[in-house]
Amino acid sequence: MAGHLAFDVSHLFAGGLVLVSFMLLYQDRLYALLNVFALHAVVLAFSVAWQAFIQDAPHLYVTAGIALVLKGIIIPGALHRIVQRLEIHRQIETVVGIGPTMLAGMALVALSTVVMLRVTAEADPLAREDLAFALSVVLLGLLVMVTRRNAVSQVVGFMSLENGLVLAATAAKGMPLVVEISVAFSILIAFIVIGIFLFRIRERFDTVDLQALDRFRGDRQ
């Protein structure tokens, strides 16, 4: 019974995470994107906390805390600041339109479930479902990264991807080093954010101006 409940709740959170990822895909305004990401982080935090509860693995609360505080509050805030400072225009130029992106997202989710369903069931169903969702979140995060043109939104994509990882890690019952990993990742993300801030990287992710190409891709004469 309890197992059943546990299953449903974690299922709920994981599914919610995927849903939020779709919302990320859908956004076309920078601030909105950041807010949605904050939501993403919060959902993750809850799901991790729930895992900590049902697996009674207290150290997972740390991870949940990091997720909530760092990704839910600090980083979105920092990014807000950056967007203001660097006058990144608020409109997100996407490579392909929202619609196709959403379709691609659907396809990816389908793909990940198909792949995961091949996993024999004796790896316990909870893990199986969670992994399916985690994989979708990861893929959707990558999709965000490759379909958005400017740095901030790509960072957001990367972070959502990484949320997927944490989801997977927590779903893996009794996996060691989860906390360390989440910490390491937080540092990584901090690096990226700082990098954006320091190097004034606006659209460097995807510069289209040829002169910049010549300057930075070195190998031309």
Binding site: R118, L142, M145, F205
Partner: protein, 670 residues
């Protein structure tokens, strides 16, 4: 036993190569290096001759713990390798002797001295090798050393280009050979030749091996259309190295071909010979036509090498055909002819390149159009170059004729072949050979006539001086050998007998037993030739003529200006040039084979502008095969190069794509 000694000599060569790196005393170093090379080559020559004459022990093999670990480096001298060792070291010794003199004038000795001995050693090791790895290692080292020698005068852009094309083609050939040996050795990597012999490959694979070896060895030997590098690279090197590359290295390539096709590959199929014969015939004619149209003396020689390679491969092809149809005697005849020509060509081609080197040293010129009248300035060089030219034009009583004659005798046996294709093809190939021989005569009348005869076409040629004594000595030795091999061919044929026996299981009748020392391929009634008698007759009747004329007729003679149809002392520019000499043949053969075209501009009457004549030739092999290839690579490179300038997001897209693709693979195929 002698294998071990041979290896020691090779080691000596390598040691001298290493020892000379970065030395200060140039003259001294030159003398020492070439001295050592000379000594070592003579030693190896002695060994090889001993083995050739007294026969080789069956298990005269050496295995060193080098090369592929679990196989080791196998070395072995059998009859075949003994024969080729003789040829190689004959050339090597003479080149070293020549180098003793010629090398002293080298402008960049530091770029020649270390690589020359290494080159010699590598060639010897190729022939000594008895497993695939050692063979290919030495083979490619040979290319590498010669490449370094080609690059010796790297300041000249053409030389750099030549070096590049050479090394690329060489490596292409080596990879082809590598694939071939991969097939022969099988999946478990039995690379030792003994193991390869023990496990013959399937017929289909064998055919594939043949093709690969034709590409590999053929590209090194210079079979058309794989010859493009040869006329670029051979002339670029210092002349004694050119002599080695043209006279000896191509023979090493022939050795590789024989080793695989007649020794390792197992029973041949008759249709292989069709391929080889066709290639050989085409190569012979195309090679000599190319040579006919060159104005660079060394390039003329290089192209004529292509021709001679063609002749050799025709011999090999015939031998294969006869062997496959169970006619050992005929096969032996053809093989003997081929090997004999291998020896001959190594002799006179080295000789001619030495001559060209002497001319180059004396005048600083390789361009025929600027030479002329050297017979007065360099009498000795002229004599030996003349002998070389007569020999390479396959004229009696010199050696070139004998091998050509033997080849024709083999061709005359073709009607008894069972296959109709060959019956009809071989005579045609024979016609091609005859054509090649006649053109060779024309080509060398041109080469000798324009450079040594007539009047000097440039001050440099007018001021030329005879070359040094070492060079002269080397050239006279080779010339003497040419004459000897032409007058006493039976010696060569008999000493080749064991080799031929080993390869085709039969040999020509022992010639030394035949009265009057004439040579008889099959039977007295069928055909025979006696170089000695012909030589004696010519000498005799000539002296009779001289004697009687000088006794009976007037001996008076007077010098005067040339008659020249009544135009007194025209300038040297009015002489026939190399270009004009080739013109009739260019008109006959060039128009189709080379898309030859002539452009004449004659200024209108009264204008003082000079008239212009230009003859254009196209190297179709290059334009149809290599240029498109290079173009394709360049095109793809340009396309691929875009990937250097993508944005990070696009690179991420690549990663993402790869991931999705792999997941799809999982989703679908598992």
């Amino acid at each position: 036993m002698s294998t071990a000694f041979a290896l020691i000599f090779a080691a000596v060569l390598l040691a001298s190569a290493v020892g000379v790196v970065g030395t200060a005393h140039r003259r001294l170093a030159t003398s020492i290096v070439y001295g050592v090379c000379f000594a070592a080559s003579v030693g190896l020559l002695g060994l090889a001759l001993k083995d050739l004459v007294s026969g080789v022990g069956p298990n005269d093999a050496v295995v060193l713990p080098l090369g592929l670990p679990w196989i080791g480096a196998h070395f072995r001298i059998d009859a075949l390798s003994a024969a080729f060792l003789t040829i190689v070291n004959l050339g090597a010794a003479s080149a070293s002797l020549y180098g003793l003199g010629y090398g002293q004038h080298e402008t960049a000795p530091a770029r020649v001295l270390p690589f020359f001995p290494a080159f010699l050693a590598a060639m010897n090791l190729v022939i000594l090798a008895d497993d695939a790895f050692t063979f290919l290692l030495s083979w490619e080292s040979m290319s590498l050393a010669s490449w370094a020698l080609v690059m010796a005068h790297h300041a000249i852009p053409e030389n750099r280009r030549a070096g590049f094309i050479y090394l690329l083609m060489a490596s292409f050939g080596t990879l082809a050979l590598l694939l071939g040996f991969g097939l022969l050795a099988g999946a478990n990597g039995h690379y030792a030749f003994s193991a390869i012999r023990a496990a013959p490959v399937a017929p289909g694979a064998a055919a594939m091996v043949l093709v690969l070896v034709l590409i590999g060895a053929g590209s090194k030997a210079g079979l058309v259309p794989l010859h493009v590098w040869l006329p670029l690279a051979h002339p670029a090197a210092p002349s004694h190295v050119s002599a080695l590359m043209s006279g000896v290295m191509t023979k090493v390539a022939v050795y590789g071909f024989i080793r695989v096709v007649f020794d390792l590959i197992g029973a041949p199929e008759w249709w292989w010979s069709v391929v080889i014969l066709a290639l050989g015939g085409i190569t012979a004619v195309m090679g000599i036509l190319y040579a006919m149209f060159q104005t660079d003396l060394k390039r003329v020689l290089a192209y004529s090498t292509v021709e001679n390679i063609g002749v050799i491969f025709v011999g090999l092809g015939l031998s294969l055909a006869f062997g496959a149809s169970g006619m050992p005697a005929a096969a032996a005849l053809a093989m003997t002819a081929a090997l004999f020509h291998v020896l001959n060509h190594s002799l006179f081609k080295s000789l001619l390149f030495f001559g060209a080197g002497a001319v180059l040293r004396a005048t600083g010129l390789r361009d025929l159009e600027k030479l002329g009248g050297l017979i007065h300035r360099m009498p000795r060089t002229a004599v030996v170059f003349l002998i070389g030219s007569v020999a390479i034009s396959a004229l009696p009583p010199l050696n070139g004729f004998v091998s050509e004659w033997l080849t024709f005798q083999a061709i005359l046996l073709s009607p008894s072949l069972p296959q109709w294709a060959l019956k009809i093809m071989v005579p045609a190939v024979g016609a091609l050979l005859a054509l090649a021989a006649a053109l060779a005569a024309a080509c060398f009348v041109r080469a000798f006539g324009v450079s040594f005869l007539g009047r000097a076409r440039s001050p440099a040629a007018a001021a030329a001086n005879e070359t040094d004594k070492f060079s002269i000595a080397a050239m006279f030795i080779l010339a003497g050998l040419c004459l000897a091999a032409g007058v006493f061919p039976w010696v060569v044929i008999d000493s080749l007998a064991p080799v031929v026996d080993r390869l085709v299981g039969a040999h020509m009748p022992i010639q030394s037993a035949i009265p009057w020392l004439s040579i008889v391929p099959i039977s007295e009634s069928r055909s025979s030739y006696n170089g000695l008698l012909v030589f004696v007759f010519i000498a005799l009747s000539m002296s009779i003529a001289v004697y009687s004329i000088h006794r009976l007729a007037s001996r008076a003679s007077r010098r005067g200006p040339a008659w020249d149809g009544g135009f007194p002392d025209a300038s040297p520019a009015t002489q026939y040039t190399a270009g004009s000499f080739a013109e009739p043949i260019r008109r006959v053969f060039g128009t189709t084979l080379f898309r030859a075209s002539e452009h004449v501009e004659i200024p209108p009457p009264g204008s003082l502008a000079p008239a212009h004549f230009r003859a254009d030739l196209h190297d179709l092999a290059f334009e149809m095969l290599y240029a498109p290839l290079a173009g394709a690579v360049g095109f793809i490179a340009d396309r691929a190069n875009r990937f250097q300038y993508l944005t990070i997001r696009q690179y991420l897209t690549l990663v993402f794509g790869a991931l999705v693709a792999l997941l799809l693979v999982l989703a679908i195929w598992t």
